[in-house]
């Protein structure tokens, strides 16, 4: 273990000091806790990865030593973190650690030879900073930017808050714990990107580069300072430029600022097919085939003599074996079909019927659940400003067989793809409409994290029933009338556009719509209904009646579009966007400027208008009356450079 080390500010830390031995201000903690967590994370994962890989690169001699060194390594981690913190707190966020971690301390893990860190081994922490003091290290190791925490007896860590190039933001950190890097050896990058010309390393990628004598880890955590690749203000001065830098050290909280999010495509459809159970079959008849079938059903009863006894006796009618006939808004090409002999009740429809010939063949549907993908649109910001978002810009989405819903502008704005998919149950018409939003790589433009997920999901029914008995027809007519009445009198309730509420379906009474589904339910036994909960409860149909969606200030754009009404309604989804008409006077930018939240010197602005929320005038040698006047001008009316 290392002996006591003295820092340049006279702060003494022992080798066993940990992060708990140093008091941080809230600001310091907010800024650097993520960095230290980064180091912690690096070692934890690095070491774990090494263990999992069986200590790849380590000989059988040294691997046991390495593995046994892990507890001690953990102690070193804590010490390094303490050193970093001490350096940072001691000198206004800028500091140099000298003698903090010597390389030979790291080598002391071994019994003499160094299995982990070779003779030139170092503990490095790089971050994006063009600070030039480390040119020597840079030339030695062929890196463009690096900040060394510990190296070959001369150990430095420097973090400049507001250097011109640095801008006070740590975005990415490479923590390298490895051995000597021969400048003549080109690292073999196994995955990811080590260094990009812009100086940024790819966010969120880990890679393990095994050079001839080096093993090191790259990790970049956008969360370490609560930043993503997006910087919150723009120092460039270029018109409409939106790049910028995140205000340094100002996190406003001690949260994790973890911007990780799960990305996923639309889930795959279930492979459930009720006709495999043997109780039901689904067919896709042509109009001609239906005509042929109906001619048998309604034809001269003498034809029944051709049929088995059970039909002749009148005990059962054909229609008892045909519980449902409906129209779906799909094409036969959307279905998985197999042409086969039409049969009912397990009996092939044959028997020498004069009107039909000997047999009737029909396409049988082999896949009960189908997906109809209506494609995608993209939506780009119109203004490139806050005006693109609520409440200034609003939108509503019309969905065929459903109606109009309001979406969150914040969620769909700048989406690369807004995909609409109808997942239809051909057994009963129960349909789930999925709206999938994909919005990637927007961080640099407007700070938003990646988004790729189904965010909206609505239940409806796209089947138009064709009643084939008088009783069924009466039920159908009654249902239609009820739905219309409910839509006309019920106050529309907005559906939550996002989150679990939308995915769970909106609430509403089931009285009106229940009857429509109940009609289907009467003719269909329980088997198979479990496929879709909406069939059982009937609530979703009623919901469609209630969810006549107003959009934009209570405007009702339509009402129930399900079932029979859907076939008569618009059948292509469309997005209705309401955007403001901006009025910018000439030279607005020069005269009024745009909003900002930037901490910098006033002289950074070289022309145009400037107004401040607060100013540090302590370096101005003036009396208090003048000081007040200065502050009043710059904070109230603003000034022109």
């Amino acid at each position: 273990m290392a002996s006591e080390m003295v820092f340049s500010w006279g702060t003494n830390l022992t080798a066993t000091d940990t992060i708990n031995d140093i008091d941080f201000t809230a600001e310091q903690a907010a800024t650097f806790v993520p960095i230290l967590d980064c180091i912690d994370h690096f070692f934890t994962d690095y070491m774990q990865s090494y263990v999992e890989q069986g200590g790849a690169g380590l000989s059988s001699t040294f691997l046991p030593i390495y593995l046994s060194s892990i507890p001690e390594m953990r102690a070193r981690i804590e010490h390094v973190k303490a050193c970093v913190r001490n350096a940072i707190t001691s000198n206004n966020l800028e500091g140099v650690i000298t003698g903090a971690i010597r390389w030979d301390d790291l080598t002391s893990f071994s019994t003499g030879a160094n299995p982990i860190v070779s003779s030139g081994g170092d503990f490095w922490m790089y971050y994006y900073n063009d600070y030039s003091d480390y040119e020597t290290y840079k030339s030695n190791f062929n890196l463009n930017t690096e900040r060394v925490i510990a190296s070959n007896g001369s150990n430095k860590f420097r973090y400049l808050k507001d250097s011109v190039n640095y801008q006070g933001t740590i975005r990415y950190i490479l923590v390298r714990f490895g051995s000597y890097w021969d400048v003549n050896t080109t690292p073999t990058v196994t995955t990811g990107t080590y260094y990009q010309s812009s100086g940024y390393w790819t966010r969120g990628r880990w890679w393990d580069v095994n050079a001839s004598s080096s093993t090191y880890f790259l990790g970049s955590w956008a969360s370490m300072l609560g930043t993503s690749e997006y910087d919150r203000y723009n120092p460039s001065g270029t018109d409409n430029s939106t790049s910028g830098k995140y205000p340094s050290s100002e996190m406003g909280g001690l949260g994790t600022f973890d911007d990780s999010t799960d990305l996923s495509d639309i889930s795959s459809k279930p492979s459930l097919n009720i006709f495999n159970l043997g109780f039901y079959s689904l067919w896709n008849p042509t109009a001609a085939e239906l005509q042929a079938l109906s001619s048998v059903v309604w034809n001269d009863p003498t034809n029944w003599q051709q049929w088995p006894q059970i039909f002749q006796s009148g005990i059962l009618k054909y229609t008892d074996y045909m519980p449902s006939l409906g129209i779906f808004p799909v094409s036969s090409s959307d279905l998985t079909l197999q042409n086969t002999n039409f049969c009912m009740g397990g009996i092939i429809f044959n028997g020498g019927l004069a009107s039909l010939g000997t047999t009737l063949t029909m396409n049988q549907i082999k896949e009960q659940i189908i997906d109809i993908n209506l494609g995608s649109i993209s939506l780009k910001e119109y203004f490139g400003s806050f005006l693109d978002y609520a409440p200034y810009t609003s939108c509503s989405l019309y969905l065929p067989f459903f109606g109009t819903v309001e979406l969150s502008m914040n969620e769909i704005q700048n989406a690369d793809k807004i995909t609409i998919l109808y997942r239809i149950n051909l057994y009963d018409g129960a349909t789930v409409i999925k709206v999938h939003i994909e919005k990637l790589n927007n961080a640099a433009q407007n700070g938003s994290v990646d988004l790729k997920h189904v965010l909206y999901e609505y239940n409806t029914n796209v089947k138009t029933e064709i009643p084939i008995t008088s009783g069924a027809n009466s039920e159908h007519m009654k249902t239609i009338a009820t739905i219309v009445a409910a839509a006309a009198t019920t106050v529309a309730a907005p559906i939550a556009g996002a989150g679990a509420a939308a995915l769970a379906g909106a609430a509403g009474s089931g009285a009106a719509g229940g009857s429509a589904l109940a009609m289907v339910a009467k003719n269909a036994p329980e088997i198979g209904q479990a496929v879709s909960g909406a069939v059982k409860t009937g609530a979703s149909v009623a919901n469609r009646a209630i969810n006549s969606m107003p959009s934009g200030g209570g405007i009702q754009r339509g009402n129930n579009g399900s079932m029979a009404f859907g076939l008569l309604s618009e059948r292509t989804p469309f997005l209705v966007i309401n955007r403001p008409i901006q009025v910018l006077s000439e030279h607005y930018k020069e005269e009024y400027g745009y909003t900002a939240s930037i901490y910098t010197t006033i002289g950074t602005i070289t022309e145009g208008y400037i107004r401040c929320d607060n100013i540090d005038t302590t370096n101005i040698a003036c009396n208090e009356q003048e000081r007040e006047k200065l502050i009043q001008i710059l904070t109230n009316e603003g000034a022109y450079i």
Binding site: L335, Y427, I577, S597, T606
Partner: protein, 150 residues
């Protein structure tokens, strides 16, 4: 005491003023006067020559001033009343001050709400259609029993 008069063509809240037509006067204050808001008399051959001057610099004070009042007194005496221009006076120090800038013409975050941006009462309505819709229909018949011969 050296007093320089100028014609200021810049707005009052411009930090670096464009000042022209310099006229230099020397003399001494013969009465008490404030440094922040001096008032003094100039003996000029023709009072009208001061008509175009609206700005002043007092060298010994190293301060700039707006001429806020001119009073012609007896003879060719013109009394000038000044008010300090803190922006121009402390320009160099001011530009090096740190501040949280809330509006500017060069650095901005366009996604922050801006209450001073105006929009018309009427909106534009756009419609974006999806590439595909339900343009076909087909029949689905449900029958009891398996589609197999028994």
């Amino acid at each position: 005491m050296t007093i320089k008069l100028y014609n200021n063509k810049s707005r009052a809240n411009k930090i670096t003023k464009v000042i022209e037509d310099e006229a230099v006067f020397t003399g001494e204050f013969i009465e008490d006067t404030s440094i922040e808001g001096p008032s003094f008399c100039l003996n000029v051959s023709d009072a009208t020559i001061l008509t175009n001057y609206n700005y002043a610099y007092i060298e010994e004070f190293n301060k700039y001033y707006f001429i806020i009042n001119k009073t012609i007194e007896e003879g060719n005496i013109v009394r000038l009343s000044l008010a300090i221009d803190v922006l121009m006076t402390y320009k160099t120090q001011l530009l090096s001050c740190y501040a949280t800038i809330s509006r500017s013409s060069q650095m901005w975050n366009l996604y922050l709400q801006d209450q001073s941006r105006q929009t018309q009462q009427n909106n534009n309505t756009y419609v974006l259609e999806w590439p595909n819709g339900f343009n076909n229909y087909t029949y689905v018949l449900t029958t009891l029993g398996s589609a197999q011969n028994i």
